[in-house]
């Protein structure tokens, strides 16, 4: 696990360095009148020190298991798959509109992630999309996207 811990610490170290850079660019001001970047800069410095310490601590650990061991025996492929579905949902929601995209997303989640039978998947997709519409669209009055593509036909 040493490699995994080191990668994570290096990621946060890079984030911290970016924060320090951004803080400096925003302007530190003076102690009498701290600027917009004052706190961002110093929090970045603290973060850099902490992540560097984590990085050093991970280097002093025994090598242990490889990074891949974190996902051994788990259905890890489900995670990128569902993530892609969610991103596609966000992309297509304004274009195809709430009803169609929601039913499609739910159908895919029900049918492909846990392999439900088709009737359950269709029923579940329609029922959950309908429930979401009732709660958010009707009860809460949220303006759910109707889809720009349909405006071309109307």
């Amino acid at each position: 696990m040493r490699a995994g811990q080191a990668i994570a610490a290096a990621f946060w170290l890079a984030f911290a360095l970016g924060t320090i850079y951004a803080g400096r660019n925003l302007g530190l001001g003076s102690l009498h009148d701290p600027g917009s970047g004052f706190m961002i800069f110093w929090v970045g410095v603290a973060m850099a020190v902490l992540s560097l310490a984590t990085l050093i601590a991970s280097a002093r650990q025994p090598a242990g298991e490889a990074l891949g061991a974190l996902w051994t025996g788990l259905r890890w492929r489900v995670i990128p798959y569902v993530t892609v579905l969610l991103v596609l949902y966000a992309l297509l929601l304004p274009v195809l509109g709430f009803p169609l995209v929601t039913v499609l997303l739910m159908l895919l989640l029900f049918k492909t992630v846990e392999q439900q039978n088709l009737a359950v998947a269709i029923g579940g997709a329609l029922a959950s999309a309908g429930a979401a519409y009732l709660v958010f669209g009707r009860w809460l009055g949220t303006q759910l996207p109707s889809g720009t593509i349909w405006e071309m036909f109307s």
């Binding site: 995994g4 811990q5 994570a8 946060w12 984030f15 924060t19 951004a22 925003l26 003076s30 102690l31 009498h32 009148d33 701290p34 917009s36 970047g37 004052f38 706190m39 961002i40 929090v43 970045g44 603290a46 973060m47 902490l50 992540s51 310490a53 984590t54 601590a57 996902w71 788990l74 259905r75 890890w76 489900v78 995670i79 569902v82 993530t83 969610l86 991103v87 949902y89 966000a90 929601l93 304004p94 929601t102 739910m106 989640l109 029900f110 992630v113 846990e114 439900q116 359950v120 579940g124 959950s128 999309a129 429930a131 979401a132 958010f136 809460l140 009055g141 949220t142 303006q143 759910l144």
Partner: protein, 502 residues
């Protein structure tokens, strides 16, 4: 007399039909999310935050508060019947609650959990009524230096009590602070860390971050391993505890109530840690410690009371100082701000109807919960039987639409998905999301107070140590952060983290 007058005002607000309805919805949903593993009060509250936009401030906050303390009640049901805690504060209830269920005593276990929760919840509300006005009077004397140091103390406690290594928890707190500073500088109006994205001018939304880190990440973690649940099959009978049960549970309930309430007030304390400490305390002072872990009713009564009392105590720092002591309270702070209210010492002076209305609604909510929990156990058992493969797509959809409805922004959906993936990886690499979220909420407030304190003191950092309250907070924070360097304290912290993680 003042308290009586204030409570009369509070009840006149809480007993309005709309507020009663919102209170009922809150405690019902709270119990439901407490029962259902895979969705906790934080995710449920952020999901329902948009509901409060259309309601009066008191109705919305009454509902969100109901979700929180309702989930404490509901969590015990899964812990006792399924051996899976519905939410983290009920982890310790599985130790003896499930054993009692296996011995055919699921009824008394559920019963004492509900009665203990009710007693502790009521105790916490009374404590809130007494302590809050006194603390608010003291808080009026707080200046920017005191507020800044108090927030440093709160973040230190949250980092100390988190599962993983302290260095990682502190790193997460720093990340949260930076994220909280995205958007317009509240002092000079310049845009910061927005990368020319218009959507970031008002900062990153709290709801997409919380939904990502706690909702989506939780679903990802559950999806990669198949969740199986064995529901305790026999019918649950005899919910009313016997005389002997009461005899064994009376003092644990009393101690759990006091302990939970005090820990709930502390910044960084909360329901989870108080339930563990209550269990450890009961085991230590019991004449039969060997019975713990084998179905001791005191092992259910103490922690269940403690977590409910802590849920009530947590309202004190929020409502009197305007500082959320934990993530749940940070969400409530968000709800207050959405309605143009600033929790703090002036809340009970400027908006007494809201302050006392919320307090009174907690009495009513506790009674509703007692009524909901005992007769409706059968319904909750049925809810438990819904397979996760049916539940998770619905939870995901409600996360997506819930986030969209808060801002009508597709950008927020990407933020939620991004934080979902980040939260999943953070769990893998033992980085805790709680310090990040709390620091995110405190970021702007902390920066404002830091800059104001420096401007007022002509750039003298000594202002933070010259003011006694500020100095005490900083000394405590330093002691907490440096304590892991002492071998004994390091061992104790690891013990707490392992207990909590288990």
């Amino acid at each position: 007399m003042d308290i009586l007058h204030n409570m009369a005002l509070g009840f006149s607000v809480a007993l309005q039909a709309t507020n009663l309805l919102y209170c009922f919805i809150g405690v019902f949903i709270g119990t439901l999310v407490g029962v259902l593993p895979g969705i906790g009060p934080v995710a449920a509250m952020s999901l329902l935050l948009p509901v409060t936009f259309n309601s009066s401030p008191e109705a919305g906050i009454i509902m969100l508060a109901g979700i929180y303390y309702g989930s404490m009640y509901g969590g015990s049901t899964t812990a006792i019947l399924v051996n899976i805690p519905g939410e983290a504060a009920s982890v310790v209830t599985t130790l003896d609650g499930y054993k009692m269920a296996q011995q055919g005593r699921a009824g008394p276990a559920l019963g004492i959990a509900a009665f203990g929760s009710f007693i502790a919840g009521t105790f916490a509300v009374i404590g809130l009524m007494i302590v809050a006005p006194a603390l608010a009077r003291l808080a009026v004397k707080f200046g920017p230096a005191e507020y800044f140091s108090l927030m440093i103390l709160g973040l230190s406690i949250v980092a100390y009590l988190s599962h993983g290594p302290l260095l990682k928890a502190l790193t997460m707190a720093c990340v949260g602070l930076v994220l909280g500073l995205v958007g317009l500088d509240s002092i000079n109006g310049s845009a910061r860390l927005t990368f020319n994205q218009l959507e970031l001018i008002d900062g990153v939304g709290l709801v997409p971050i919380v939904m990502g880190l706690f909702g989506v990440a939780e679903i990802f973690s559950n999806l990669e391993r198949k969740l199986t649940r064995e529901i305790f099959d026999t019918r649950v009978r005899g919910l009313l505890p016997s005389k002997q049960d009461w005899k064994e549970s009376g003092w644990p309930i009393a101690r759990g109530s006091v302990l939970g309430f005090l820990l709930g007030i502390l910044p960084g304390g909360g329901a989870v840690i108080s339930s563990f400490i209550s269990y450890a305390l009961e085991k230590r002072i019991s004449k039969t410690p060997e019975a713990f872990g084998k179905g001791a009713i005191a092992g259910v009564a103490g922690p269940e009371s403690a977590n409910n009392a802590a849920a009530g105590g947590g309202f004190i720092p929020l409502m009197t100082l305007g500082i959320p002591p934990n993530v749940v309270m940070a969400l409530l702070l968000g709800a207050f701000i959405v309605h143009g209210l600033q929790p703090g010492p002036l809340l009970m002076v400027q908006n007494p109807n809201i302050f006392w209305g919320i307090v009174a609604s907690m009495y009513i909510g506790n009674i509703m919960l007692l009524i909901l929990n005992l007769p409706l156990i059968g319904l909750w058992v049925q809810v438990l039987k819904i397979p996760y493969k049916i539940l998770f797509p619905m939870i995901l959809l409600f996360c997506l639409i819930g986030v969209y409805s808060t801002s009508s922004s597709i950008f927020d959906l990407y933020v939620m998905i991004g934080f979902g993936v980040l939260g999943y990886l953070m769990r893998k690499f033992e980085y805790e999301p709680a310090p990040l979220v709390l620091a995110f909420v405190l970021g702007q407030i902390m920066e404002n107070n830091l800059r104001k304190a420096l401007i007022i003191s002509n750039g003298e950092f000594s202002t933070f140590i010259e003011r006694p309250i500020s100095l005490v907070c900083l000394i405590l924070a330093a002691a907490i952060l440096l304590s892991p360097l002492l071998p004994k304290m390091r061992a104790r912290r690891k013990e707490l983290a392992v207990e909590e993680a288990n």
